[in-house]
Symmetry: C2
Amino acid sequence: MPPVRRLRSAKATPAALHLTRFLPYRLSVLANTVSHTVAKLYETRFGITIPEWRIIAVLGGGETLSAGDIARRTAMDKVQVSRAISRMLDSALILRESGDTDRRKALLTLTPKALAIYAEIVPMALAYEAELTDALSDEERATLDQLLTRLQARADALAAPAAAETEAEEG
Amino acid sequence: MPPVRRLRSAKATPAALHLTRFLPYRLSVLANTVSHTVAKLYETRFGITIPEWRIIAVLGGGETLSAGDIARRTAMDKVQVSRAISRMLDSALILRESGDTDRRKALLTLTPKALAIYAEIVPMALAYEAELTDALSDEERATLDQLLTRLQARADALAAPAAAETEAEEG
DNA sequence: TTGCAACAGTTTCAAACGAAACTATCTTGT
DNA sequence: ACAAGATAGTTTCGTTTGAAACTGTTGCAA
């Protein structure tokens, strides 16, 4: 029996790693490329940043939310949300009024100006998304959706080393 | 014939957009979660950042490259590479010598210290990747690979609006 | 050759970032 | 009722970032 089968796992090479095949790297590069493109889109057309776009996206239905709600729904941290809101107040995209029952919470609503942007930006966003997945069949799109969902769940689990055993079923 | 079929596309709602279903958003959040986790891994164990890890990854085979080569292979920009190299010189992870034929180019090689990190970090990186794709079948992993490749190609094409028609077949 | 554009890499500057500290408000336990 | 702790949101501080300007080197053209 020849020793051929052991050649690949010889200990001289400590298991090759090609960056371009490494999933974290690939995800980072892809997300970066995409983000950069859409950011430029939003910036040049509406003068808003990605955090501002996300806030517009979650408030675009006309809902009223607190900053904390927004942070949760956009996966941004509260500092980022606070700063984005402050910019949006300056540019009259958002309306802030003190909560009645809880004065710590500020109730946030989009202004008509922001709603107009929303109406215009959503088709653009969807168009970009459509172009991005242009070469994918409907079935592939569904698979992608599924895989991303599962990867995110797994990544979340691996991100919280020991903590939050009980929070696991939050969803 | 009842008007039922027109209800979904009534113009009152300007096409809904749920952030959590929006591909650019999902990619961004996923890549962020993953990056943050591996960054913490590398930082606590070896005291290096992601840019430094990427440089170690491409030089880990023992190859000698210029800063520009590294920038291209890691998809980082030259500023980021320059700064990472400068940090690595300080911590004796990299060796820089002036090019002989072209004195603009600096030839970069890993020190034994960095090679030792490489030997130790690669299994960790692969282990994380394996854990991340734990719940995926071999077939699903292959599909994911394929989909990411195609999305990246498409994203690249959409990122360069009018330019680089001729560069399209560069790979 | 000399001058000029292209290139490699570094530095500068202003913006963006995250962690931690802080202010203000609300909740809970005694 | 009130102190102790939790929560909402802002501010501060040191670091990281990317674009543009800059330095030095090479290649090319007149």
